[in-house]
């Protein structure tokens, strides 16, 4: 009797903790899933203003403008382009013509406000999402990745 009841207590405690965890997971999943979109995806299916997502593509050649620590550039998949502004220090490997992933949201003027810009960690590396979206856009040139 007591043995069974005690075991029941532990099982109940375990279920309670798991239940709380499941509730936490479900509520926070809603806000913290960050989708990846290429410029072509956005042209096809726009994302509402203010919604957080990741934008990936190549930094368009000749598009980078700098004013102090505020940068403006365009991200392209060689079909569509999206204007981006970013305040901060850009990562070391941020270059024109190279792959980039920016996290942020659109403002009401259709400009992507990046809160975080990720570039590659080394020279020979292309973020896989960017490589795939370039392939989808029919613009993938493996030999041109440098």
């Amino acid at each position: 009797m007591t043995r069974k009841r005690r075991r029941l207590y532990f099982v109940l405690a375990g279920m309670a903790i798991l239940g709380v965890a499941a509730a936490l997971v479900l509520t926070s999943f809603q806000d913290s899933l960050v989708f990846f979109r290429s410029p072509s995806d956005l042209a096809e299916k726009p994302i509402p203003v203010g919604r957080n997502f990741r934008l990936g593509g190549l930094v368009e050649d000749g598009s980078v403008e700098k004013d102090g620590v505020i940068y403006q550039f365009r991200v392209t998949d060689l079909v569509e382009t999206v204007p981006v502004t970013f305040k901060g220090l850009l990562p070391d490997l941020f270059r024109e013509g190279q792959g980039v992933v920016a996290e942020g949201h659109f403002n009401d003027k259709g400009v992507f406000i990046a809160s975080n810009v990720l570039a590659k960690h080394d020279e020979n590396y292309m973020p896989p999402e960017v490589a795939e979206s370039l392939k989808k856009a029919g613009q993938w040139m493996p030999e041109a990745k440098n």
Partner: protein, 665 residues
């Protein structure tokens, strides 16, 4: 020549591992002593062979032998010697060889220190280690051979990623691997116990030191990794909930849970099945971590290679190891007899709560880490799970864990008394409220979580010290008798106190640096001064300087608090030549009360430079705390009762008659 020798001994190691994985199992099943003892010799031969292979590759790196493909693509003749050596494991093939070498090292250590293990158990443990070795060595030889030749040999190598040329990162992988692979020993013990169909307190005593060692190495490995991210990446962050970080954090959570549940098996002969399952899960997390990091599934600096053949091999290996061991568990676990029954309010009850919270936390981290991979595989949608998810699921599980951490050690085994513990903890509660109150008075606009964090820090610190003081009866009698108790108290008990204090310090560092960090971002011209976090930062100017294999733009800043001498700080932006790459070298002044952190960026063309300055209060305590935890683990490990292989089955107080009959082997 050196590469061929390396290749040969590696094949020799594989052949040895095959025999080590089969013969001792047959020997243990038939009670054949020579076959069982063969395991010891095989473990020794395997260790020597892989050491030889590792030495060969190291010679290749040190002498810059660019006829070896691996050396040519990852090293350079002008690289400093430390990074030539650390370059051995700074790449996919070499790091796997290191993994295999550490696996063999642990196997050899079990053979060496396990003198008083029963023959059959030891033979089975070593056989399982051998089988894991077969899998890894096959992976190395067939998909990731570090000794592949390159013909013609290039004049010079293409160099190591400069981000990896760093003392913190030189030692981060070996420590992490010592932790990952250390868990293979507990895994082997668990599988051996399942085959034998028996777990007893003595088993837990043999397993605990290995878990403790693996846990300590994991702690240091993770701390080194986050320290590296903090000062090398130049973003000022130290933990990003990046999948690769999670991959090392999940085994740590599981190992921490295992460490605590093994105590219950040892002292109360209960929670056996759960402990076995945890041992399997912990090593599965290690393998999963290796898979996630090495297969190129994830976007990160760690993803050296993205060769599909390797990914498939590791996936099959994972399925065989995890699936096989869980299947064995499913068949054999119901046969294990559950031990004592126990009350919810007791030491073992508190340890169960610890395990519930830790494993739930590990599960939520696992879900957040794998969800993007599954979603991609099934729907093709690319998502990432951001830090908000981890913060909002992990924190609510950790807060009760820390509250319970102060209670647990006060509770006696079998039956505790909650009100009694509460009265003894009243000072801790008072300290927590007082400390949170003082912080609130001083920083009235502080976020609630910051006050909670500071309160938890004081609660855990004071609660842990109170428990320690009670153990040695401090101020309850003459100091000399307290001293006597202090000396006589087992070292593992002091180790527990230290590790818990370490957690309290980590809580302090995380809370204070997250809540009260101040930051300045903007263009600064030479001579300009700016105030951040109570310090005045004077920008003196920037100049170009040359390093051994890079050129750099170096800024000079003087930080001062008004009076006294200023602190000189030199942030750099480096351009490495081989491979061509830029890195940011933040200038960091670590102090006990705060870190000053200065980054210099591009010139704006008008004489100014983009700069970022942080003032991060108490952030050093995160790593100090991690080191204190490690030291606590090391102190525990030096306990006479826990020394590797020291415990004897016959001596253990909880051992029953059947255990004694099993000890003759």
């Amino acid at each position: 020549m050196v590469a061929e020798i390396g290749q040969f001994v590696l094949i020799l190691a594989l052949v040895t591992a095959c025999f080590q994985g089969v013969l001792p199992l047959i020997g243990a099943a038939r009670g054949n002593a020579p076959l069982m003892h063969f395991a010891d010799n095989a473990a020794f031969v395997q260790f020597v062979a892989i050491s030889g292979a590792f030495a060969c590759l190291t010679i290749g790196y040190v002498t810059s032998d660019f006829s070896i493909l691996n050396v040519a693509s990852n090293s350079h003749s002008l690289k400093p010697m430390l990074y030539k050596v650390s370059g051995v494991w700074g790449n996919h093939e070499g790091s796997l060889l290191l993994w295999g070498w550490i696996l063999a090292l642990f196997g050899f250590a079990v053979a060496l220190f396990g003198r008083n293990l029963p023959d059959s158990l030891k033979a089975r443990v070593l056989a399982i280690q051998g089988l894991i070795g077969v899998g890894f060595l096959m992976f190395v030889l067939f998909t990731s051979n570090p000794f592949e030749r390159l013909d013609p040999a290039p004049l010079d190598g293409s160099g190591l990623n400069p981000l990896l040329q760093d003392p913190g990162l030189a030692f981060h992988p070996p420590f992490l691997y010592l932790g990952y692979v250390g868990l293979s020993v507990t895994f082997s013990f668990a599988i051996a116990a399942l085959i034998e169909g028996r777990v007893d307190p003595a088993w837990a005593r043999w397993v605990r030191p290995w878990t403790l060692a693996a846990w300590g190495f994991l702690t240091i490995g993770i701390a080194l990794g986050s320290w590296w991210a903090y000062y090398e990446l130049g973003w000022g962050g130290w933990w990003f909930w990046d999948p690769v970080e999670n991959a090392s954090f999940m085994p740590w959570l599981a190992a921490t849970a295992l460490l605590h549940s093994a105590i219950v098996v040892e002292k109360r002969d209960a929670l056996k099945n759960w402990t076995i399952l945890l041992a399997i899960i912990a090593f599965s997390f290690s393998l999963l971590g290796t898979f996630l990091v090495r297969s190129g599934v994830l976007t990160s600096v760690h993803a050296f290679a993205s060769d599909p053949a390797r990914g498939v091999f590791i996936l099959i290996f994972l399925i065989v190891v995890i699936g096989g061991s869980l299947l064995l568990y499913g068949i054999r676990a119901p046969m294990m007899k559950g031990g004592g029954l126990f009350a919810p309010i007791s030491r073992e009850g508190a340890l169960v709560l610890n395990n519930l919270l830790l494993s739930t936390a590990a599960a939520t981290v696992l879900l957040g880490t794998l969800y993007p991979i599954f979603l991609d595989a099934f729907t093709g949608a690319k998502v990432s799970v951001g830090p908000p998810y981890f913060v909002s699921t992990f924190l609510p599980l950790v807060v009760p864990l820390i509250i319970a951490m102060a209670f647990g050690p006060f509770l006696p085994w079998k039956r505790g008394d909650l009100t009694g513990v509460l009265t003894r903890l009243k000072f801790a509660l008072a300290a927590a409220l007082l400390f949170a109150g003082v912080v609130w008075w001083w920083q009235s606009n502080a976020p609630v979580m910051a006050l909670v964090g500071m309160g938890l820090f004081a609660w855990l610190l004071v609660g842990t010290i109170l428990e320690w003081a009670e153990r040695i009866k401090l101020f309850r009698g003459p100091l000399t008798s307290s001293w006597k108790r202090l000396v006589q108290l087992p070292r593992s008990s002091h180790g527990m106190t230290m590790a818990h204090i370490g957690i309290a310090l980590v809580v302090l560092g995380i809370t204070a640096s997250e809540a009260w960090q101040t930051e300045h971002l903007g263009v600064m011209k030479p001579g300009e001064q700016i105030s951040v976090g109570g310090y005045d930062f004077q920008f003196e100017g920037a100049e170009n300087v040359a390093g051994p294999n890079y050129e750099a733009l170096r800024g000079t800043f003087i930080a001062s608090t008004g009076g006294g001498k200023g602190i000189l700080m030199y942030p750099e932006q480096r351009r490495y030549t081989n491979p061509p790459m830029e890195t940011t070298e933040a200038a960091i002044r670590p102090m006990l009360t705060a870190d000053l952190y200065v980054v210099i960026g591009d010139a704006d063309g008008k004489g100014g430079y983009a700069t970022r300055i942080y003032h991060k209060p108490f952030i050093s305590w995160i790593w100090i705390g991690a080191f204190v935890m490690f030291a606590g683990g090391a102190l525990s490990l030096s306990d006479r009762r826990l020394r590797l292989g020291a415990p004897k089955r016959a001596r253990s107080p909880g051992a029953k008659e059947k255990a004694l009959t099993g000890a003759k082997g």
